[in-house]
Structure formats: C-alpha cells, structure tokens
C-alpha cells in the first residue's frame, strides 16, 4: 500500500508538471518495449511504442500482486487503446490512463513523456 501511495503522489497532469526528469537516451530503450527508470526512490516503467511512434510511462508496480515488473511486460493494443500486460498473470492496463482492461485491478499512475534531442523526459509533480 505504501508503495502505491508514494508513486501516486508523483503523478500529475500535463499542465501541472513541476519536474521534467531527463531519464535516458531514446536509443537505450528497446523498440516496442519498455525499461525501468529510477526517479528518487520510485520505479517508473517507460515504454517506447515505436510502432505507433509514441512514448508512455506508468508505475513499475503491478497492483495485482504488488510486483515491480511492469516494465518487462509486453505492450500492444486493445482496439485503439495502447496497453501493457503484466508478465506475471497477464493483467492488462491502458498506457493512456492506467485503467485495468481485463480485470478489476486498481488503476496505474501514469506520467507524461516527451522526447527532446534524443533524450526521454518524464514529467512529475515534484
């Protein structure tokens, strides 16, 4: 629970971003896949959805069994919705709003991402 509350307090909307954190080079991320970024003591899953030319970020913690693992999940689409599937039990979550798609797990905290000069930046509330 503590882990969940901490990560939620970092999340914010596009207009209220206080910090754009420079995470890593774009080329460090696998194509159509994710990697885990450490920010303060938190873990953020960042996905390079190269097929759609889009980037997404969400908490690395899967709320189902509290495993730090979502960055290792497969990404894809359900209809138009971009999603990630947890490697453990294949719970899927929207990358756009964090809602659980195929079950009733709690929603993920998601974070804005921007790419500038070959670097990936993640937006945080603090």
């Amino acid at each position: 629970m503590e882990l969940l509350n901490d990560i939620r307090s970092l999340a914010t909307t596009e207009s209220d971003i206080k910090v754009w954190y420079k995470a890593a080079r774009t080329i460090d991320f696998p194509e159509n896949g994710g990697a885990c970024v450490k920010y303060k003591d938190q873990q953020i899953a960042v996905f390079n959805f190269s097929r759609r030319n889009e980037w997404y970020a969400c908490q690395n913690l899967c709320p189902h069994k509290m495993q730090m693992v979502l960055s290792r999940g497969m990404i894809g689409s359900a209809g138009e919705e971009p999603k990630v599937a947890c490697p453990f039990h294949k719970k899927t979550f929207s990358l756009r709003n964090g809602e659980c798609i195929n079950a009733t797990e709690e929603k993920l905290a998601v974070f804005p991402v921007k790419v500038e000069d070959g670097f990936v930046y993640i937006g945080f509330a603090r």
């Binding site: 629970m1 696998p30 896949g33 990697a35 450490k38 195929n102």
Partner: protein, 830 residues
C-alpha cells in the same frame, strides 16, 4: 453512524464485512472472533497438508480489516448479549454497544455421546488448531480412522492419507455420503477410495472408543473391533447458539438461531447468518448459502429489502481425493413416482443416475460419480424444468460428444443460473452479447463478472458466447486474437511459405493493430519453430521468461536451469553448480526432470551467472521456453542388473538432438532401460522403453493437472527408426497443434485419434514423412546455445539490468529464510 457488531470471524462473518464495504455502507464495524487468527478458508483446510500455510488460507490479512476501517478483535469470545441496553460482553469482561448485531458464530463439530471420546488421540476436524494437533499426533502413529463418512469425514480422511497414515473411514449408514449418494454411487466411490488405500467400514455403530488413557481401537455394536491409534470425529455439526440462547433469542430444538426470510432473529436488530442460522427448520452447512445470507443482510442494512432468503439449492459438485462427485436436485429420488435411470461402469469407476418425473417430462435430480462433466448442464436442466429429450437415457448412456454439451446450453432458458458465485443467468450473458456487442470471453467476464469467482462456469459461458454469436450470424473462428484472423496452424504455414522472419513483418502483412500479449509470444514461438534463430534478437515479443532466458518467480527474481542431459552429471559439474549457487546466494532444488534449479537471481546477475556456467561447460536448459525440457532416464543396462538397453546414452543422444527445439508448448521425454519403466516414460510427451529387441515408442502422455498415459505408437523398432519417428512426430505436432496445447490434448482433439497419428507418422499416409524429417534436420543444424550468444554480445548483455538510467538494483526485493535457504516473502506482504 450506525454501529454494527459482528460476532464470529469465520468465512461467512468475513464475507459479510467484505460485502458491506463493497456496497459502500457507511457504518462502524466491529468484529469479535474467538479464534486466534483472522477468518480463514475452512473449506480448503486440507490444502494445509499439501504445503499451504495458515497465512495462505487467510480470507484476508489482518491489515485488510484496518484498511477497510473494520475493528477486528481476535481471540475474544462474546459471552453475553444485553438486548435492552444493546450491548455485548466478551470473556475478558469488555463491553461494547451496537445498533445492529450480526451473529455469525458458525458451528462446532458434533461429538456423539460414545464412551471413551475423552481419550488421548481423539480429535475433531474444524479449525487450524485442530489440524495442527492432528498433524502432531499423526507423527507418532500409523493407523487412524475417521468417524463419519459424509462430505467432511471424507475430507478429513484425505488429510489422514496425506499424513501417510493407514486410513479407515467408519460410517453408521449403509453408504458413504448418505445425504448425497445412493448405494451404487457409494460402491463406486468406495472402490475408488480403496485404490487409494482407504478402508471403508459401513453399517458400523460405535459402542466404545476403547483404550487405556489413549485409544487403541473402536469397538462396534456388532462385536467387531478396529484397532487404531488415532480417531478424527466428523459426525456432523452443531450450531453455536449458546450466546443467543443466553439472551432469550429463539433457538431451534435441535440447535441454531431461528431466523425469518430477512435473516432476522426474533429481535429485529439481531441477525443470524451462516451455520448458526436455522431457516425453515434447515441448517445450511455449506459456505455458498452462508454468503447468500451475508449478502441479504448487507442489502437490508443499506436499505434494500427486495431480496429475501428462500432456502438454498444444496446441489454439490466436488473432487474427493481425485474422484469427481456431483449430486443435484432430488438426488436420491424421493419425489413420489419418480423414475430413476442409472448407468454404471465399474471398470472405469463411473456411476450416473438421473431421476425423471413420473410423467417423464422433467429431470428432478441425480448423482454423478467418477465423471461429473455433465453436472452443470444437468443441474440447470433440473433447476429450470427443461423438457427432456424423447429418450432421457441418452443423457447418461450416450458417449458425451463434443457438440452435445453446446447443444444442451442452447436449450437452457434465460433464467438458468450459469455463474453461481456472482449469480449470473444465461439471460444476463446473452443480453451482453446481443445488445451490448460483447464478442469475446474476456469482455464478457469484465462486463458481467462471470467466471471470476471459482471459474467453474467458464466452459459453459464460452459455449453460450459461441452459440449466441453464431445465432447472430458471426462466424466463430479460432483466430488467435483481435490482431490476427488466423489460427496458429494457418500462421505457421504463412510464416513458412512467405519466408517471414519477424513479428513486425507478419503483423504488417497479415495482421492489424499493434499486437498484444497473446499474439506476440505465439508468433515468437512460431518463428522459433520455423527458423530456430536467436529469440532475444526480437526480445520484446517474447514472454518475460523468453525475453530474459530465465523463469520469472514470485518477487520478480529469476531461476536458472542449466541442461543436464539425461540427468547424467559429473562430480566436477555438480560442484561447479554448488559453487556458483553459493557465490550468488541462490536457492537450489532438484527438479522433476533430473536437473538442478537455482532460484533468486536478479535480472542483472543472469549474464554473470551464465558466463560462469558456460565456462564450466554448461548450456541453457531452456526451462524458460515452450521448448524441449528434459529427457529423463534410468541408469539402464550400464549399471542396472535388469536393464536390457543403454537408456542413459540414448536419453542423452535424444536430449542433445532436440535441445532448443521450440514447440506450441513445453516438451518432455524419457527413456527407460527395461519394462520396469523407472524413468516414467509413459507420462511424457514421448517416451521410449527398451525391449529385448529394440525400443517401444510411446507418445502423447502427460503428467501435470490432467495425467494421461502415453499411447504405444510402435514396438521393437531399432534406434535409427525410433529417432526418425520421433523426428516426424515432433515436427507434425509443431506444425499442427493449437497454441499452448500439450501433445496429450492435441491427440485428444485429433480426428481419428491414435490410429490417424500412427498412419501419418509410421505409415506416412500423407506422404510428408521426409519433409518432416528434413525440417527437423534444419532446426537441429541451426541450434546454438542462446545464453552463450548473450554472454558474448555486450549489446544483448546490456539489456539485463533493472534500471535503464543507473546501475543500482531493485531495492524492493526482499527474501525470508526457510530451512537454511532464501525464499521470496508472501505475495501479499509487500
């Protein structure tokens, strides 16, 4: 805010709390439970013996109550209720005030008044404490009995078997499960139990539990004597109504608090639910009606009085020591004039009985032992008074073909309850499909919550989905997901014919959308089966195990399994594994496939560990892949005085031949050196057993959840022929099986069955034998150890780290110690 006190923290008491909070009822909730721990799953108490801990059985951890603002007092027994003051008092003298009181005190085991029940070694079976005592005492004895052959008694019997004790079941009635089964059903069940080594004694009235201090046997009224050292009494339940009686609530002469259809006692502010409640002269000793009662009381407190308790269908389906038993409706045929039809197959241990109404129109109830696949359908037919076919006997005598069950679902009325856990009817499901446009099982689960409880209704829900979609004119194709309108076999052909090497190329040319967690690993497996190229070069379409070439385990660490072909290993290599495991602090365990698994490696440690393993001469064991795992062997003629062929050498040859082979599911094989079959080859996807003249080849066996013996494909073939046939067999399986289908299921679904398979593989009826062999030869030629490639390639190695932006490791990883090694903590402890 209203103040609700719940007396009793068992399964039903807990369910009340859960439902109350789910409904969002604003009320203070205080729970008093007599037992020292929060509510746990009593129904699965026997799983305690198969390694579950008391923690695993908890309905919810203590923290759940706090998070949901429920005050839980464990180890505190409510001893008095003052209805005037609306207060309760506990055994410690504490008093508390309520607006509503919910009695969920449950029941205690009924102990008959037999001489000697106080002796040492006599136990009841209800709580974890009871169980712990049974386990402790069971270590000192060898012979034990259960008094009572009902549902609970048989569960207790299972517990004794699990303890490794010689087990007897003693029943007063002339049959087992007298409330659910008739004599023939009992005979079949008894026969099955005797195969498990359980002796059943019927018609036995116990006169005395004999002994001196501790018991030494049971003396029966008929003069016989059963020598035993431990006795578990399971002779029914007695509602815990003491505290209700003490405050003048109405109790039933046979025990239990009398309630009306609203589950109210004669005090409108006091409810009784679960096994302590008596509704219409009935005590309900199952958990489902208890949950229903909890639900009704929650609704009332929330102001909804529309639902009342109208009794509960006590039909049950369960697995007793591996035997399916179903009993539904009027199981024993007590309705006047009813006509029973029965079918019995002693050889296979199957008994089916249906009771038909006197006019022959309706199914009233029945019994299924040994094969209860039709339980759901029959139960619904009876509950909904569906018209029977002209020859009702065809229901149980005709071999249940594939189409039949689906057709049965078609005729169910809309009111038929399909999902009992969430109370969803066929009409609810059909509405979602026809009116809301639901087209997939996942969407149906989401929109209705069907299948999300026990999951037992999933096949029926799937049938309803399929039939309803078909009735709407949709063709229901076994396409793999929304991104590919093809079956696995079609995609395999496309990949081969069009020479497609990457997932993206296939998605662009034959798919739509952006893929998903279903089609990505499936195509990854197809590509590997077709070309056997390095899978990590397309890392992000692999399941996590294949992406990191290791098995992800609880907590997010991985396990490592080097190949130990045929289970043969030198002392030097054994020491190397020991040294490496010790260096990286890994938990080690011998696997079922004669090799060694090392658990608890962080993702960043994997390449280092493998570098050392490869230096010591090891290769990947592909334990993470839908691939060939192991070829188990016995020592055979090299050492064994019975062996007729060198099974170890052959097993090593076979394992080396097919190592790295990727398939629709994992593959396991074995080679036994003689007919004694010590390598258990008949439980494998392919098994080879030595004969005086050569080898017998068995195929499509399976261990796991649905064990199935492998079928004999050919006898007495020489080594070369044997290998050729295995080549063809494996390649044919890879070409044609559905995704994630083991060879056993593949054969079960195959039209023509074993005869057809033998025709294709041995007689080459399709003329593809040579092509299959050639494809296999290409795959074998293309083999390379994946781990060696990764270890040698800095770019691939770089992918094995937890954080992309720094070198630290995951600080949330933690371990606990168990028997001198490390283990991950419980799922829910984080």
């Amino acid at each position: 805010m209203k103040r609700i006190i719940v007396v009793g923290n068992g399964m039903v008491g807990y369910k009340f709390c859960e439902k109350l909070r789910k409904q969002g009822v604003a009320a203070e909730v205080i729970v008093y439970g007599e037992e020292p721990r929060p509510a746990y799953d009593r129904v699965h108490l026997t799983s305690f013996f198969s390694g579950k801990t008391a923690e695993d059985l908890l309905m919810a951890p203590a923290s759940w109550y706090a998070e949901h603002h429920i005050v839980l007092h464990t180890g505190e027994l409510v001893t008095e209720i003052d209805r005037q003051q609306k207060t309760i008092t506990t055994h410690t003298g504490k008093t508390d005030r309520y607006d509503y009181l919910v009695l969920a005190t449950g029941s205690s085991p009924f102990v008959p008044n037999v001489k000697g029940v106080e002796r040492d070694g006599v136990f009841v079976y209800r709580t974890i404490e009871d169980l712990n005592q049974i386990i402790d005492y069971g270590k000192k004895v060898t012979r034990a009995a259960v008094l009572g052959g009902g549902l609970l008694g048989l569960e207790a019997g299972k517990a004794l078997v699990d303890l490794g004790l010689e087990t007897h079941i003693v029943e007063f009635a002339p049959r087992l499960m007298p409330r659910q089964l008739d004599e023939q059903g009992s005979v079949i069940l008894q026969h099955k139990l005797s195969q498990l080594g359980i002796a059943v004694h019927l018609n036995k009235s116990t006169k005395e539990i004999a002994g001196n201090g501790k018991l030494d046997g049971l003396e029966f009224v008929d003069g016989s004597f059963l020598p035993i050292e431990m006795l578990v009494i399971s002779a029914g339940i007695r509602p815990r109504d003491e505290v209700a009686k003490g405050c003048g609530l109405e109790v039933h002469p046979r025990g239990g608090v009398v309630v009306n259809d609203f589950l109210q006692t004669n005090d409108e502010n006091i409810f009784a639910i679960g096994e302590v409640a008596v509704h219409n002269n009935m005590v309900y000793g199952l958990v489902a009606p208890g949950y229903e009662m909890a639900d009704i009381v929650v609704r009332q407190i929330a102001g909804d009085f529309s639902k009342t308790f109208q009794g509960f269908d006590m039909s049950t389906k369960l697995k007793l020591m591996g035997v399916d038993v179903g009993s539904f409706g009027d199981a024993l045929g007590e309705t006047p004039g009813c006509i029973p039809i029965a079918f019995q197959d002693k050889h296979n241990g199957v008994y089916k009985r249906i009771n038909i109404s006197a006019d022959g129109k309706y199914l009233l109830g029945g019994i299924l032992v040994g094969d209860a696949k039709q339980y759901n359908l029959f139960h619904q037919m009876a509950a909904n008074k569906m018209a029977l076919p002209a020859q009702p006997e065809s229901l149980i005598i005709g071999a249940p073909g594939k189409g039949e069950e689906g057709a049965g679902v078609k005729n169910l009325p809309d009111s038929a309850q399909i999902c009992a856990c969430e109370n969803i009817t066929k009409g609810d499901l059909v509405f979602q499909i026809t009116e809301k446009g639901v087209k997939t099982l996942d969407d149906l689960k989401r929109s209705t919550k069907a299948c999300t409880g026990c999951g037992g209704c999933t096949p029926m829900v799937n049938d309803i989905l399929k039939i309803t979609l078909e009735s709407l004119g949709h063709t229901v194709k076994k396409s793999i997901c929304e991104h590919f309108d093809y079956t696995r076999q079609e995609l395999y052909d496309i990949v081969k014919i069009k020479n497609i090497k990457t997932y993206d190329a296939l998605l662009d040319s034959h798919g739509k959308g952006d893929g998903c967690e279903v089609c990505k690993p499936l195509v990854a497996s197809l590509l590997a089966s077709a070309w056997n190229e390095l899978i990590v070069s397309q890392a992000t379409i692999q399941d996590t195990n294949d992406r990191f070439l290791a098995n992800i385990q609880r907590g997010g660490t991985y396990s490592v399994v080097p190949r130990i072909a045929g289970g043969e290993i030198t002392p030097q290599k054994l020491m190397a594994i020991g040294r490496i495991a010790e260096k990286y602090g890994l938990y080690t365990k011998i696997t079922g496939g004669q090799r060694i698994d090392m658990f608890g490696a962080r993702v960043d440690q994997l390449p280092e560990i493998w570098e050392e393993l490869i230096d010591e001469g090891f290769e990947s064991g592909h334990a993470y892949g839908k691939a060939l795992r192991t070829i188990k062997s016995c020592v055979g003629s090299t050492w064994c005085r019975y062996g007729v062929q060198d099974s170890v050498s052959f097993a090593i040859y076979i394992e080396d031949r097919y190592k790295g082979l990727r398939a629709p599911h994992k593959l396991k094989g074995a080679v036994s050196g003689c007919i004694r079959e010590c390598a258990e080859a008949q439980s494998k996807d392919f098994g080879i057993i030595a004969t005086e003249k050569g080898w017998n080849l068995y195929v499509c066996g399976n261990g796991g959840s649905r064990p199935q013996h492998a079928k004999l494909l050919v006898t007495d073939v020489d080594t070369e022929t044997c290998v050729k046939l295995v080549d063809r067999f494996l390649m044919f399986y890879i070409r044609t099986a559905d995704p994630l289908t083991r060879t056993a299921t593949w054969l079960n679904k195959m039209e023509g069955g074993l005869e057809y398979l033998r025709d294709v593989i041995v007689n080459d009826s399709l003329g593809i034998g040579e092509a299959l062999e050639k494809e296999m030869a290409e795959l074998i030629a293309n083999y390379a150890c994946e781990w060696k490639k990764v270890v040698e390639d800095p770019a691939l190695r770089a992918q094995f780290k937890h954080f992309i932006n720094e070198d630290s490791t995951d600080s949330t990883l933690s371990f606990v110690e168990m028997r001198g090694q490390k283990c991950p903590p419980d799922w829910n402890k984080k």
